[in-house]
Symmetry: C2
Subunit: 181 residues, 2 copies
DNA sequence: TAAATACATGTTATTAATTACATGTTTGGA
DNA sequence: TCCAAACATGTAATTAATAACATGTATTTA
């Protein structure tokens, strides 16, 4: 893509929650936030450098063990301002709702009796059902009492992800029904 | 990103439906298929050239009016085979469910009483509700009798898009309720 | 104690995608 | 008949993102 470098703001947001290392930032994209954004370490480390050059973040070095040096990054006041500005700015809704190779494939399979359809739908269904289960487990684990006062954003995105996966599995189920009759 | 050049297969799929010009392919991404994939003409024209070099497509020239030359592309048998192979191949489900700047923003707004929340949720809600309505109109327009034998894939992705937008609006509504109490 | 795995940080090469540049034609309406 | 909008096709510059390259440390476990 060629977005407006949203990654930088996400990094600022994560560092606002708590100071983190590049490694920890990378890990963050493997958990909840990964449902709605992703980035590899090869994108994160250079971005951290740029943010530091731009005075948005600073780091201090931590030594663990004998020689391992870890760089823990934190927001500067400038960085905090940048983050707040982004959070307060209008978010233009993305028109095309993301990319979905599977959906596109189905688009090109015209006939409901295509021999490949059932297997395709079943397989994807299994995957998304499993993912849904995992997300629901996360929810009961992290928010056993429902929406919380602190961590409200976290609750919202988890709920979002669950609803999305639910809708996805239901779509697959309906599709399966529609092509079996 | 750096996908496995899925665009090429989508172009093949679109050309399999009917021969098209680069311009018409571009337009295709503004309609239904645009819900699950997008591409600009600056990506399409070069890709068409590559596909032609690779013998996947051919074109013939049409003259309209005095001098305007249109290139209408069609699949070769090789191209048809490539397409079928792609359609038959396993589709690995994408782990991270796409990117959503709005969702990420909410993630960083911890407090449910944040003064920005209501406006944000309301605004996005209006957009997605409108989009949902538009999609539902498309559905009743194109498939007044429900799922069709021909054009089944088209029906599926429309249904998919509708369910997605419905889930999105319901999430926003629930979020609004949750942060207002 | 050896090996495997996780921790940790970077760079390089390549691909995917958008934005902007560039040019011209056709059609329909004011 | 002029003008705007849609039609039509390309290229160039830049950015975003992934995959692969590269290297080394710390911890756990067999």
């Amino acid at each position: 893509m060629a977005q407006r470098n949203i990654l930088q703001f996400i990094i600022l947001g994560l560092l606002d929650q708590q100071p983190r290392t590049g490694y920890e930032l990378t890990q963050a994209f493997d958990s909840d936030i990964g449902e709605f954004w992703s980035a590899k370490h090869s994108q994160i480390y250079p971005q951290l450098s740029k943010l530091e050059t731009a005075q948005q973040v600073t780091h201090h070095e931590e030594v663990s063990g004998e020689k391992l040096v870890r760089k823990r990054y934190a927001l500067t006041t400038t960085g905090k301002t940048t983050l707040e500005n982004w959070l307060s700015a209008d978010t233009e809704p993305v028109v095309g709702g993301g990319k979905d190779e599977f959906a596109v494939k189905l688009y090109f399979i015209q006939r409901p009796d295509d021999p490949r359809l059932v297997q395709m739908l079943t397989k994807q269904g299994a995957f998304h059902k499993q993912k849904l289960t995992h997300l629901q487990e996360q929810m009961t684990l992290k928010f056993p009492a429902g929406a919380s006062q602190h961590d409200f954003g976290h609750y919202l995105v988890l709920d979002h992800a669950i609803r999305r996966e639910k809708a996805y599995t239901e779509w697959l189920k309906a599709a399966l029904t529609a092509c079996e009759k």
